[in-house]
């Protein structure tokens, strides 16, 4: 009889879960370290082999040869490239990312200023995308082929294909310049700039912590447009993907089984189908969030948003390689972190992946 065996088989599955957990954590840590080493190595080498001369960027075209040589040695450029890389890694672990030529500040200080702006924007945009796109996708799937489905699909197509800079300019023109419903470019009115103690760097959080509600409202007014426009983009994408996943699940046998049981349609959709859709959505939402954290140069430019996308881009144009390297590392760490996070969540939601 098969039952006698299965009891112990289940036991084995359970206990192997306990044995596997530390091993999985160790494996994840190792792959994290390797990813990090690869990331820094590649960006470092690219930065060094670029035909731009970091010494010239500092001393200028007309500097004397002696000055040039001194700076050359000071930057350690006379050493072999792997020595330079190890030295860079060593400094990195001490929190020293070098000094930006463009801002004349330590790169770390710059990043602490620019990255939270992107983090705030990306987080709000992703929240909008998830809270809007997922229910719309479910709704479209449930009403497949009806007018509501077509409407949602058109909205999705529009949101996904309309250029961000065009929509951004239009929104600024109508909602800010003409109607005055929202605040204009930038993160906050100059009047309020620097008035709250930066704890997290996220103005919304900092002003809420300080109970400065006027500043909070002002910052929100500035955030609404760029976050809304990035949000529409991810909303459109998530709605499309959710619709697709949902239709796939609704066609499965276990949905028929749930209906046979007499389960109300709402529970069939949310308790049965959506829980399976969630498994697939986690990965997609993680990727969307990560790509937004990279900084969206177009949106940041249109809305004069001092984010990491703008920082990396302008550093690149100015041959400011320490800044580019630092920014890239932050973006890379975000990517790896979010991937790990969605991996963990995935295991939590899908028993088959444990």
């Amino acid at each position: 009889m098969p039952e006698g065996r299965t009891g112990s088989q289940l036991d084995r599955n359970r206990s192997s879960l306990l044995v596997q957990a530390p091993r999985q954590i160790a494996g994840t840590a190792l792959s994290l370290a390797l990813t990090f080493a690869g990331l820094t190595a590649v960006t470092f080498v690219i930065a060094r082999v670029m035909p731009a001369d970091p010494v010239l960027a500092i001393v200028g075209d007309r500097a004397h040869q002696d000055v040039y040589d001194a700076v050359y040695r000071e930057l350690g450029l006379d050493q072999p490239i792997f020595v330079q890389y190890l030295r860079y890694l060593g400094q990195l672990f001490e929190g020293d990312l070098g000094v930006s030529i463009m801002t004349a500040q330590p790169v770390l200080v710059d990043l602490l200023r620019f990255f939270p702006a992107t983090l705030e924007l990306a987080t709000v945009a992703t929240l909008l995308g998830v809270l809007g796109g997922v229910p719309l996708g479910v709704l479209a799937a449930v009403r497949q082929g009806r007018w509501l489905d077509h409407l949602i699909r058109v909205i999705g197509l529009f949101g996904y294909s309309v250029p961000v800079f065009w929509l951004g300019m239009l929104a600024l023109f109508v909602l800010y310049a003409k109607l005055g419903w929202v605040a204009g470019p930038g993160r906050i009115d100059i009047f309020f700039d620097g008035m709250v103690e930066p704890v997290t760097g996220l103005i919304l959080v900092d002003s809420a912590l300080a109970r400065e509600w006027e500043i909070f409202r002002n910052a929100l007014g500035h955030l609404v447009l760029p976050a809304g426009i990035l949000g529409i983009h991810s909303l459109a994408y998530l709605a499309r993907m959710t619709r697709h996943f949902m239709l796939e699940q609704l066609g499965q046998e276990y949905i028929l089984a749930a209906r046979v049981k007499g389960v109300p349609e709402r529970a069939v959709i949310w308790r049965h189908a959506f829980r399976n859709v969630l498994v697939q959505l986690i990965t997609i939402v993680g990727l969307t969030y990560a790509s937004l954290l990279e900084g969206s140069v177009l949106t940041e430019t249109v809305f004069a948003w001092p984010g990491i996308g703008q920082y990396i881009t302008s550093s690149l144009f100015n041959n400011d390689m320490s800044a580019v390297l630092g920014g890239t590392i932050v973006v890379g760490v975000c990517f790896v972190g979010i991937n790990m996070g969605s991996d963990l969540l995935y295991r939590l939601v899908d028993p088959r992946a444990r």
Partner: protein
Amino acid sequence: MKRRDPLLIVDGLRVTFDTPRGPVAAVRDVSFVLGREKLGIVGESGSGKSQTGRALLGLLARNGRMAARQLAFDNVDLLRAGEGERRALRGGRISMILQDPKFSLNPVMTVGEQIVEAFRVHANVSRREARLRALAMLEAVHIREPGHVFDAWPHELSGGMGQRVMIAIMMVPEPDLLIADEPTSALDVTVRLQVLALLDDMLARRGAALIFISHDLNLVGSFCDRVLVMYAGRVVETLRADELQSARHPYTRGLLACQPRVDGDGSDLPTLDRDPAWLR
């Protein structure tokens, strides 16, 4: 309900699917009356046997339509019943076991959760009570460590166990009619008979009726009281199971003839002959 009254009356059932190439009739004018008995419906794939079962539950695919002169379950007119009324019948009084537990169990819900849900949809009981009932049900389907299996995930079960869990889910609200759509086709031959014996036992204990849908004429013949043979959406012959060997319709005889036999001489099996005249 009087013991003599038929449980289910199906008169002139038609199921049609709207396709891009126009309507396709899957079930054409099927009629039968079911008491507290075991009825087999046999036919090739596409003969309309599964759609007959799904029509009784009101669970056709989106593009399906059904019509009938009469469709009554225990004096409830299924053609007039609203969605709420039909849902109360579903699971509660008419239930269905699907072919493959690998697909018919929700992969991200534990076994226990799925049995408890089936029970609580129809019975207003506490979680604790429902849990006890589910555990008892697991024991009733001969699962040896109900506590273990209650917390197990569907992918941790073998095929035979999965189908027994499925039986537990579908029988827990004590339905009067169980439709089993190829319940053993996805199982190993060795566990097939165990599952069938279990099904038989559960039905007998609860006095429930069964509609057994299968392509396997011999299996149905040995398991059921009566057999309906379907071809191209119609019932071509109705027989008592013990009269199966004396079937008169050429299609039924053809089906019987193309079954392989262990003691056969190993020669090629005959191919079914189909006569368009059968559909008239």
